[in-house]
Point group: C2
Chain length 405, copies 2
Amino acid sequence: MKTADPELMRAINRFHVMDAIRRFGPIARVEISDRTELSATTVSAITGALLDDGLIITHQLGGIRDAARGRPRVLLDLNPDAAHVVGARLAPDHITIATTNFRADIRSSITLPVRVGRHGVSVVADLVEDGIRRSVADAGLELSQISGVCIGLPGVVERGAGICRASPLFGERDIPLAAELTRRLDGVAATLDSDVNLVTLAEHWFGQARGLDDFLVVSVEMGLGLGIMHKGELFRGANGLGPDLGDLLVKPPNGAGLVRLAEVASEESMLADARRALAASEHEQAFRLGRGMEKLLERAEAGDAAIVALLRAAGEALGFAIANLIVLFAPPKVILAGAALAAGEALVRPLRDTVSALLPPSLADVADIVVHEWGDEDWARGAAAMTLRDLYGAPWGTTGPAPHL
Amino acid sequence: MKTADPELMRAINRFHVMDAIRRFGPIARVEISDRTELSATTVSAITGALLDDGLIITHQLGGIRDAARGRPRVLLDLNPDAAHVVGARLAPDHITIATTNFRADIRSSITLPVRVGRHGVSVVADLVEDGIRRSVADAGLELSQISGVCIGLPGVVERGAGICRASPLFGERDIPLAAELTRRLDGVAATLDSDVNLVTLAEHWFGQARGLDDFLVVSVEMGLGLGIMHKGELFRGANGLGPDLGDLLVKPPNGAGLVRLAEVASEESMLADARRALAASEHEQAFRLGRGMEKLLERAEAGDAAIVALLRAAGEALGFAIANLIVLFAPPKVILAGAALAAGEALVRPLRDTVSALLPPSLADVADIVVHEWGDEDWARGAAAMTLRDLYGAPWGTTGPAPHL
DNA sequence: CACTTAAATAAATGATGCGGATTAAATCTG
DNA sequence: CAGATTTAATCCGCATCATTTATTTAAGTG
C-alpha cells in the first residue's frame, strides 16, 4: 500500500469519477455525486478539471426528460477522442490488432493469419509492429497519438516487468517483449499481459460480468487460462504472474495417474487426439489449429463416438478443475471463453454435469457457469481496455504511469 | 474502494506508522520515516498523537549506541497496556482461550478439554463465555477493559457477518456465533474467523512468514483449511468466506473416482481409517481425536505397514492439492500447520515427493514448503492478533470499528 | 412571474503532508 | 572545558484537497 498524501487522495477520487462516467454512460454530475458519495462540489471540481483536460465531454440533454422541472442536468461522457490505444492479441494461428478510442470503441482492426508458433520471437515482433502501424494508420491516426499499447498472449506473463515467462506460442522463455515493442514503436508504451486477463477485464467492462466484482474466467484456447476478478480487481499471483490453468493436475477419466489439464482439455491436445482417432481418414487435413474445433463439433453432432468421447473427457477434466476453483474462490459466476467452446454442448454439458456432481451441496448453487463466445476483436478490445484502465489512473494497482496527453 | 477524504489519508498513514512500530519493535522516528517513506514531520505528528492516545510509549535509549554522535534517537514501541484482547480457538477436543495485551503477548491462557462436537452450540457458547471471563480475570483485568474478542474455528466462516456457515464441529449451519457472544459478553465486540486465517495472520506476524507478503498456509486438523496471504492481506473468497480445503477434490491413490480431500487427509479420516485397519486390536482405544496422531506416528515408525500406507495416501492427496495451489498462486512459501503434522515424515515426505513429482519444471522451485507446529496458545494468539489488526485500524480491509479506548 | 432543480462559484474550515528552519541532545575536537 | 559537529526531533509557514454553507447563474416548468 502506498503512503497517503493529498495527491493520492485526488487520484482516488478522480478515478472514482472517471469510473462512474465510464460505467454509467452519459451521466449527470448529481448522479455521480450520488453514486460516488462525493460532495457535489468535489464532483464539480473534478469534472471541471477533466473537462479542461479534455478527458470528458458534455453531452447536452440526453433526450428523455420526464417529470423534470428545474434546470436540466447536463450529461457527461468520456471524450472518445481524448486518447487512443492499441490492443493486440496473439493467438496460435492469427494475430488480431485493434485501435480504439478512449471509450474502447474499435476504430480499426486487423487480423493477420499467421501461425505464430512457426516463427521466432523477432519475426512475430516484426509482424506485430507492422500490424500496429497499419491499424493506427487505418484509424486515421499517427503513432504519436497513441497513448499505449497492450499485447495479450497465452501463457504466463509478468505484466509489471513486461516479460513473457512462458507461452505455448514460443519455445523461448523470459521474453522481454514489452521493452522490445516499446523500442520499435518509437517509445509508445507497450505492456504485456496474459490474454485471459484481458478477457477478464473485458467481461467486467463490457461483457457478462458488468457490475460483478467477483468472478472467474476460464479460457479454453490453445492453452488454458484462468482470470480471477476479486473485489473488482484483477487478481495476479505472487509476483504479478497469472496462473497457468494448463498446469493444473487432473485425473484423466480413463483412470490411471494424473495429467496436466492442458494435456486433456486444451484445444491443442483435443485436436491432436482427434487426429489420432481419425488417423489416415479423409478428415485429417481439417484438424489443424484454426477452424479445427468447428470440425470437431460437426463430427460430434454427426455422432462420431470417438470425438464425442474425446470432448466428454475434456469437459470432465475441465469440470473437475472448475469445481475445485469454485471450492477455492466461491465466485458467483464462472465464465467460459475461448475458441474451443465452439465445440458446444458436447464439451460443455459434461463440464456442467461434472461440476454439479462434484461440488458439495453447500456450494452447489453459488456459481453460475456461463459460456461467452468472443470474437477476435473483442479480445483486442480487452487489451485496449487494459491500457485504458491505466490511463484512467487507478491509483492502487501496481500499474504505473499516468496518462501523457 | 472507499472514496478518499482527509480522514482516510490520516488513517492510512497512521496505520503505516503503527504497523512499522509493531513489526520493527522499538524503533526511532527517523527509522519509521525511512521505512514508511513518510516525511519526518508527518511521522512526528502521528507518533505524537499516538503517544497522546497512549497507544505507544517511548522506550528511552535501547542500549546499543554504536557510532552515534548526534542527538540520540528515542525509541518507540507499542504500549503493551494500551488495550487487551481475547483470542479463542475451538478445536475438536479442546477450547483454548488466551488474553493478550496490545502487543499480542499472552497474559493468561486457559485450555478446556472439551469434546466440542458432542455439545450443542449453546453449550459451547456457555463454555466459551465462561472461559473468556475466567481468562480475563486471570490476567487481572475486567471484561470492560477488553477491546475485542475473536473466535477461531474450523470450517467456513463469514467473518463480516459473524456467522459460521459450516463447521465440522457443529451439525448446524449458519450459526450467528459472533452476535451471540457479543450479547453474552456485555457488549464486548466478538468476531468470528476461520481458524486457518488466524494461523495465517499469526505466521505473518510472529511465525515463519514474517516479512513475506505472499504465502499459503495449509492446516491439517480435524478439517482442512487454507489460508491465503496475498500482498500482505488475507485473501477471502467472494463473500468474505474462506475456502474449505476439505472440499477440494482429489484422486485417491488407489485409483478410482474422486474424493473430497477431507476424506483422505483430514485427521478425522485418518484416524477412522486407522481404526478400521486395526479393528479389535489393542490400540483401538488410543485412536481417538486428541493424541491420536501421535499414536499413528508411533505405529508408523514401528513399521506398521497399514499405517504407513494410510499416511502416505494422505500425504499424496495433500501433495496433489498443494501442487495445484502452487500452480494457482505461485507462493514463495507454503506453510503446513496443524496437529496432524505430528505424524511427521511419514506424512510429510510423501507430500513433498508428490508435490515435486507433479509440479511442472517452471514452478519446481518457487515454493518452499515448511512445516510449522503450533501450540494451542499460538492459535489463540493468532485470534488475538486478528482483533489487534482491527484495532490498529487498517483502513482498507472491510474491518470496521476503530479502537474504543 | 414565481417556482424548481442543476450546476458553478465563493468563502470559510479543517485536515493533511511537505520543505526548510530551528531546537535538542548528544559526541567530537582543539 | 568550550565550541564545533552531528544527528534527532520539532516548529512554522505553505500548498493541496475535500467539505460545508451560501450565493449565484442557468434553464426549464407551471
